[in-house]
């Protein structure tokens, strides 16, 4: 009898393999995030201290938008030949399916973040590398919260008439506390705060990730069945 985690792992590996084969999702996400950063440069005075102070916001906006695009694609793959139905035909628990897809999205997001941090350094002239270890904590929490909520809503929006277009509309308002926590922690760390200085924000990010991780895991079942 395959266990919960065998299923999770199988789905996760399949997504990795698909991505490895085509490399389309991660490269499209990175390119898109890069474009968002550039677009910001046009909208504001580039190189000015304003831009620097805005770096945390730009980082998270770019990752969020690119992440939403990646989520949409991740579920478009499952929708293509009704594959999600195929998953539901197997004895896998809905929670295992959720976790497998969520893990795939999280890994994609983390890789994306690793790729665009250097871009931030180059284009916005912010010193990130010195505080990198500290920075990882809020980034991880924010990504976890995003992946949980995003995976749930991506599965939902694929079954509506608007398809992927509904995904940001559902996700962004709910995501506000997580984004705020992530941006403010980032800002604090850039300004030299220690992890304990920004503890309230970390607490918020952790609470969001924990609460919604659990809630989405439980609610995913209702999204899958028809």
């Amino acid at each position: 009898m395959p266990t919960f985690f065998t299923h999770t792992l199988a789905i996760f590996q399949k997504d990795l393999k698909t991505e490895w084969r085509t490399k389309e999702r991660l490269s499209a996400m990175t390119f898109f995030a890069f474009l968002v950063i550039l677009i910001f440069n046009f909208a504001f005075e580039p190189g000015s201290p304003i831009m620097q102070s805005a770096a945390p916001g730009i980082f998270w906006i770019a990752t969020t938008f690119a992440g939403l695009m990646g989520l949409g694609r991740a579920f478009a793959i499952e929708k293509q030949n009704d594959c999600l139905l195929g998953l539901r035909l197997t004895p896998a628990d809905p929670g295992a399916i959720f976790l497998g897809k969520m893990l795939g999205n999280m890994v994609a997001m983390l890789l994306l973040e690793a790729l665009i941090l250097p871009i931030l350094v180059i284009f916005l002239d912010v010193e990130v590398f010195a505080v990198l270890p500290r920075l990882c904590v809020p980034i991880f929490l924010g990504t976890l919260g995003f992946a949980a909520v995003g995976t749930l809503f991506a599965a939902m929006s694929m079954n509506t008439r608007l398809q992927e277009a509904l995904l940001p509309i559902l996700t962004l308002p709910v995501l506000v506390p997580a984004l705020l926590a992530a941006v403010e922690s980032f800002r604090g760390i850039l300004e030299g705060d220690t992890l304990s200085d920004i503890f309230p924000w970390l607490k918020l990010g952790g609470a969001f990730a924990g609460l919604f991780g659990a809630a989405c895991l439980l609610l995913f079942e209702f999204v899958l069945e028809d």
Partner: protein, 238 residues
Amino acid sequence: MNAIELSNVTRRFGHLTALRGVTLSIPEGQTFTLFGPNGAGKSTLLRIIATLGKPTSGTVHIRNIDVRESPEQVRTHIGLISHHTLLYDDLTARENLTFYAKMYGLKNKSESVDEALLTVGLADRHKDRVRGFSRGMKQRLAIARATLHQPEILLLDEPFTGLDTAARSLLSDMIFNLRAKGRTILLVTHDLAQGLTLSNHFGILKRGELVHESPTENITETELRTIYERHVGNLTQG
């Protein structure tokens, strides 16, 4: 033991009633063909048996297991060929099957996969991505996917759609083989002659009601056509 037992199954989609109190028992080893006009509810019925949709009311038992109570247990016994292939375009034939083998928790994964590929005649194309497959090849792989875990119960929803003559006879042979092995098969098709040949029992669904059910023994194609038209009329359903 009945392989499939539906009692008074009703399914509503909003205000549309797709199934109205369907009661049906299919004993183990039976090959049952379900006929019916477009929109009669055939696919809906198959989805419910496959645990993909829940009935609005009524109960479904698969091999004496209540589907509502332990769907996971039921799923290991069921294979489904639906209108879609349920295959990942960017994985190869082998990777697709291996993935499903993992999901079904098969013990000897690679042997099962090899055997399934051989049966549907795709052994030499196992390393090619499904995206480049022709429609017939995809359908063959879908057949392999549905039968990979050797399910006791096979649900086939218009499985001949788009297949060429060769692939058709391959699938018919396969159905006969499984029938000989004592598997239970529920087939949906619009082709009366084919349904008659393949099965030993048939039913007619009309507007969500099972209006006829009888063995195929001693029934000729013309008789079947008469029965079908008496029940369904010559009109498609609105």
